[in-house]
């Protein structure tokens, strides 16, 4: 079965007009895999809906 991350990378590269040579894909995939794992680790930390992001615009 195809890895859905491969499909995601191909689709994202097309949608965002990012150049992606075939031999770059393994490294891009490895990096995206690590980044998404870190992202999931952060996202699973529960915070209330009214928690503000760190940068707050001041007019």
């Amino acid at each position: 079965m195809a890895d859905p991350l491969d499909d995601f990378i191909d689709a994202a590269a097309r949608a965002l007009s990012l150049p992606l040579k075939e031999d770059w894909k393994p490294a891009v995939k490895a990096n995206l895999d690590v980044t998404l794992k870190y992202a999931a680790f952060v996202a699973e930390f529960e915070l209330p809906d009214d928690a503000e992001p760190a940068p707050v615009f001041k007019s």
Binding site: L18, A27, V28, K29, N31, Y38, E52
Partner: protein, 484 residues
């Protein structure tokens, strides 16, 4: 214990390679040497050592000599705290007349900068003299000091080893005695990692303290600028000269100049100091623990504190870095992907594909984490932590074992620095001169309290526990080419 520098004041007949900025400025002000003599010696040393250390990517000799001549004919040299002191900057700072390459091939096609960045202007107003621009990891996305376009910066203590990055040339230039101080940038650890691996002092001030105007960015949420030096007093002198708000800099705080140099001798009396436990011990090599414990013992520190969710903070910093970095370079990724360092390009391409909802989560977590760490600082004034998990790895080394797992070197040299810069805390990295290689320890203070971190660092330096040790084997070394 440490091999402390000679205390003799410099004069035109003396080797000034290991003199501090304070010593040079005092000698120039007193007339026992001239700025011209100091600059000529620095330029000669750069010419001799750069083929070995690969720290400089540009040398501004004519400009430096002209500036030195102006200092020598000035009437009020004693009012200049950095009179005649040579320095150099990572090549992401704008220097009038040269291209700000930021370690890249792509930026080489840009126009030369039409004026210096404000930090250089402020240092030169205090009497310092720019002698060149320094090697760095491409676009600052690096912890090694390696660069595929310019070749690797080399560690003065062992030329087969990394300087650390991304401010690798800054570390090598100061540790090699080419200049007494240099400037670098620190997004996730790029001042503190080279300070540790090269055995010198580094200051990463509070986020927003020093202006980033007219420097090439990397991650707007996390970028800091700061000095490297071989003494704490030099960190303080140069930092004091650079403080203050700047027009046109959205991130620079509207704070008055808060000088720290006169605070250094206050010592550590009354300061509550703790060591960081938990995350900051996990994976540390024995030398990192030895250095940390030596400092804790010297300061009689018994208390330990835990940074809550430090691993998650590091993960969030990683995510924000990859995605903001990708946003900065998106057009260049589309137009000139083959001209990037592949290791940088592949991480930026991955960063460009991360859904934005996840990045916002990281920024929300960042605020939560900041609140928890500020609570820690209600009970302590300074926290000690390792700067790097190990001493300098070999150039080209791609993996090491942390906590029983083989992991890549490049991202993991910063595991102890990332959770700190993530919320912009001020840090002084201090060098513990272990043999055969030095290693650094972070002294972390609450926001806007650089003075505390510098006081602790100065006290340790006075005790002889931390020092920038002079590398062996550089003096009299024959010129030879290194292949990268």
């Amino acid at each position: 214990m440490p091999n402390l520098r000679p205390s003799s004041s410099p004069d035109s007949a003396t080797d000034m390679a290991w003199s501090t900025a304070a010593e040079i400025a005092a000698a120039v002000a007193a007339g026992t040497t001239t700025a011209t003599a100091v600059v000529d010696q620095a330029l000669a040393r750069v010419a001799k050592l750069n083929p070995i250390l690969n720290a400089f990517t540009a040398v501004t000799a004519a400009r430096a000599q002209s500036r030195a001549s102006a200092i020598d004919s000035a009437r009020d040299k004693s009012k200049l705290p950095l009179a005649g002191v040579p320095f150099a900057v990572k090549n992401l700072f704008d220097v009038a007349g040269i291209v700000t390459t930021a370690g890249s091939k792509i930026n080489r096609g840009n126009a030369s900068a039409d004026r210096d960045c404000p930090l250089i202007e402020r240092l030169e107003a205090a009497g310092a003299i720019l002698v060149g621009a320094l090697n760095m990891g491409e676009y600052a996305y690096d912890f090694t000091g390696e660069n595929v376009h310019d070749g690797p910066s080399r560690n003065p203590h062992d030329r087969s080893r990394m300087t650390g990055g991304s401010s690798g040339g800054s570390g090598g230039a100061v540790a090699g005695g080419m200049v007494p101080f240099a400037l670098g940038s620190d997004t996730n650890g790029s001042i503190r990692v080279p300070s540790s691996l090269c055995g010198i002092f580094g200051l990463k001030p509070t986020y927003g303290r020093l202006t980033r105007a007219r420097t090439f960015p990397f991650v707007f949420s996390l970028d800091h600028l700061g000095p490297f030096a071989r003494s704490v007093r030099d960190l303080a002198l140069t930092y004091d000269a650079m403080q203050g708000p700047a027009e046109g800099d959205a991130a620079c705080a509207e704070r008055p100049v808060e000088p720290v140099t006169q605070e250094l001798d206050r010592g550590t009396s009354g300061l509550r100091i703790a060591t960081a436990a938990g995350y900051f011990r996990k994976g540390a090599f024995p030398e990192a623990i030895e250095a940390l414990e030596g400092i804790a013992k010297a300061l009689n520190v018994k208390e330990k504190v835990e940074f809550p969710e430090a691993a998650r903070a590091r993960a969030a910093a990683y995510l924000i870095t990859a995605t903001e970095g990708a946003a900065l370079h998106l057009d260049r990724l589309r137009a000139r992907p083959a001209d990037f360092d592949p290791a940088v390009r592949d991480r930026l391409l991955a960063g460009a594909m991360v859904p934005s909802a996840l990045v916002v989560k990281a920024q929300v977590f960042r605020r939560w984490y900041r609140e928890r760490i500020l609570e820690l600082f209600e009970h302590v004034d300074a926290i000690l932590a390792p700067a790097t998990p190990c001493t300098a790895p070999k150039i080209g080394q791609t993996a090491f074992v942390l906590d029983g797992q083989e992991v890549p070197v490049r991202p993991n040299l910063g595991i102890y620095t990332q959770p700190i810069s993530f919320i912009g805390l001020p840090v002084v990295a201090v060098p513990v001169p272990l043999k055969p290689l030095p290693i650094g320890v972070q002294i972390i203070a609450p926001p806007w309290r650089e003075d505390i971190a510098l006081r602790v660092a100065h006290a340790l330096e006075q005790m002889g526990i931390v020092a920038a040790s002079r590398p062996t084997g550089l003096e009299g070394e024959k010129l030879r080419e290194h292949t990268s």
